[in-house]
Amino acid sequence: MSAEYSGNFQEAYFDEVRELLGELEAALLAIEDDPDNPELIGQIFRALHTIKGSSGMFGHSDVAMFTHDIENVYENVRQGRLEISKGLIDLTLAASDQVKLMTGLVEGESAEEAKTRAIMTAAREILADLPDPSSEELAGEAPRKKIDRRLVTQQITFTPEPDIFKYGTKIIPLLNELRRYGECVVVAREGDVPPLEELDPERCRLSWEITLASSKSRDAIDDVFLFVMDDSELRVEQIAEEDIFALGVKPAQIRDLILSGDRLTKDSIAELLAEEAAERAYVPEERSRTSEAADASSVSSVRVKSEKLDELVNLVGELVVVQARLSRISNNREETELFRVAEEVERLTWELRDSALNMRMLPIGAAFNKFRRVARDLARDMGKKASFTVEGGETELDKTVMERLNDPLVHIIRNAIDHGVEPPDERLAKGKPEQGRVHLSASQTEGNVVITVADDGKGLDPEKIKRKAIALGMLDENAEPTEQELFSFVFKAGFSTAERVTDVSGRGVGMDVVNRNIEALQGRIQLHSKPDQGTTVVLRMPLTLAIMEGMLVRSNRTIYALPMLSIHESFRPRPEDVTMTMDKLEMVKVRERLFPVVRLHEIYGHDPDNYDLDKGILIIVESREKSVCLFVDEILGQQQIVVKPLPTYMGGIEGLSGCMVLADGDIGLILDVENLIRRSEKGAGEGGIE
């Protein structure tokens, strides 16, 4: 039992490290463009600190020791003794990779001791090059900010004369001017404000206490109030010989002190500072922990294994089906009581379903950050310059879809940099900016998520594709394909126009695999390209795979569902619109366009109600490659479908993507249009041979 518990903890540890490394990388990549951002520095430090802490706690002391050195470097960055440099970012990224290897997060690879040592040595060298901290600061206490010795803290009390408004003087600009001088806490005293019935809004009864930490002299402060001095009262008193805020006094503490009625004096400030120092000396760890706890509570969340979520969604799916049966029963019986309950169950079920599905939705941004790393490393390795920008990271997508999109997207981004973006000199010669651009964006439109990867590189050359297609025997020499048709060759197996084979692309496997992956997710892929302007790859993905909008149709006794995404229109043909080609292919004319007819009953080998096309229904379905008319017996209606996989025992069935439980408990089959068309073409080919 205890072994099992510790196993669970180890798993939690790995999850945590994985997540922290993700955050670390995101912050590292962001800091490249914004090296002075203290928030990012803080994020990097916290991630390292937590990895170190957890690793130590779970017995991975090697990881803890390794991370410790890197963390030390960032401690110095945080304190302003060291600046973020490209070298440091590279080193930290390498360290992040190393931690991945050390914790076994990368399958099949383990960390090389030598590399670990090399990174640690590099980190220690950075630390050794630093000026000795003790010469710079007082020993013992480590202040959080650099202390500028020229700053002093002054307490200003400003009591304007009641008639100040009559002279057109405004008070806020005065206070704002003080704020410009340095860190400043402003508190208004309302002690002299009379009760409402006696209040004269034209008279000013407020006074202000301003605590200012600045290098300004008393004269400079007097100057601010130069034009209101006459009858107003101004008192300025130096209450500390240093910047008390830098020493850790919080504005809230000052505010409390003033509002409690006390005047700030040198003594009261000294007392505050003493408390502050004592607190810091005794419980430094506690402080950092409470601040971490505060960070965590702002996004309160529970970590759940994704299989548990899948199980929940599955159960909800079953509930939806049972609920549909209940509703049918209650509709058939005229019992008000039953009807009410059924209605209530229906409402609850749909709400439950929505929230269960919602739990699986994740913002796509986290995945996008990983691609940032891919793009960066690849551009560096290939000696190219490319900026990588991201848009729409908040767009939500089903977790499963997102996971399975990872590889295709990595491939597309690699292509964009490897084949798209030109080397800097080539770009300059073309009159383009030296740095290329790869833009990744996501947005949501009606049940779909659209993801685009756009580069401003050399684009696809239709002529080159054409020559290659002809050379490979994929295209007839005299054919005149459209640009879109030419681009679609890129998605065919064994087709790659890369002139040289690189480590990352150009091996002929690639875009066809990408295309297949996207189709397996019920998505669509499209290419747009202009020579020397760039290429844009557009992916259109369903929001979730668990539920889809489908059209139920019947052929023989079997009920099938077609994804709404692939349905264009449905109609009953007139006999005169149907023609038969010489090789016995049926075609139907719809508004001057001819579509091949695919008989669903023929594909799956059963009899239709009636063989005549005009007695059944034709549905125009479209896949990326072509559109066909699918012949079925009957359309049963549109419905939300809870998608279930077919039993693994049955293997993959070409043309089917899964199954569903219908409202009456029967099972329907879900059609995969792309594969169905492919299958029908194969069938037609075989028929021809016979």
């Binding site: 089906v321 079997t558 439980v661 099972i667």
Partner: protein, 173 residues
């Protein structure tokens, strides 16, 4: 997932107890012959219900049924044994078995009883047995004067196994 596993565990835990699952077999009829399978694999027995045909399957895979929201494939054991297809009737049963996490329904003519056949009463399969049925036999269980043919359930489900049977059949033909 694993009623069958639970039963197997039970099997080990309550080794000494009379009520244990050890040596217990579920007996069913196909074409007037008694067959038996190790009860450890059996999850439940349900009556025949509506089967949805699935294309591209071997003829003995009849399709899928909805077992309380779970979609499971069903195999017609008669067809598997190359007997002629017989319309299902009110005694036709589906024995749900769980082997290595594959849940499959076995359509049989009739379920008769649960029988205890001690190991010493089980003979190895006859050497001469070949062809469609022989390959699935794990042993011959004796129960008094009766003989029950004990089936290897895994082989019953296995695709490869069928291919080799067909190869053997054509060889002998």
């Amino acid at each position: 997932m694993s009623d069958a596993q639970d039963k197997r565990m039970l099997d080990e835990d309550e080794f000494e107890e009379e009520d244990s699952l050890k040596d217990k077999f579920l007996v069913f009829r196909i074409a007037d012959e008694d067959y038996a399978i190790d009860i450890a694999f059996v999850t439940e027995i349900v009556g025949i219900q509506k089967i949805t045909e699935v294309p591209d399957m071997d003829d003995y895979v009849r399709g899928v049924i909805n077992l309380r929201g779970k979609v499971i494939p069903v195999i017609d054991v008669r067809t598997r044994f190359r007997y002629s297809f017989q319309e299902y009737h009110d005694r036709t049963c589906i024995i749900v078995v769980d082997i290595e996490d594959a849940v499959v329904g076995l359509i049989v003519d009739e379920v008769s009883e649960v029988l205890s056949i001690p190991e010493e009463n089980i003979d190895p399969p006859p050497r001469t047995s070949k062809g469609a049925r022989g390959r699935f036999i794990q042993g011959m269980g004796k129960d008094g004067d009766d003989v029950k043919i004990i089936l290897n359930v895994a082989k019953l489900l296995d695709e490869e196994e069928l291919a080799s049977i067909e190869a053997a059949a054509t060889e002998t033909a």
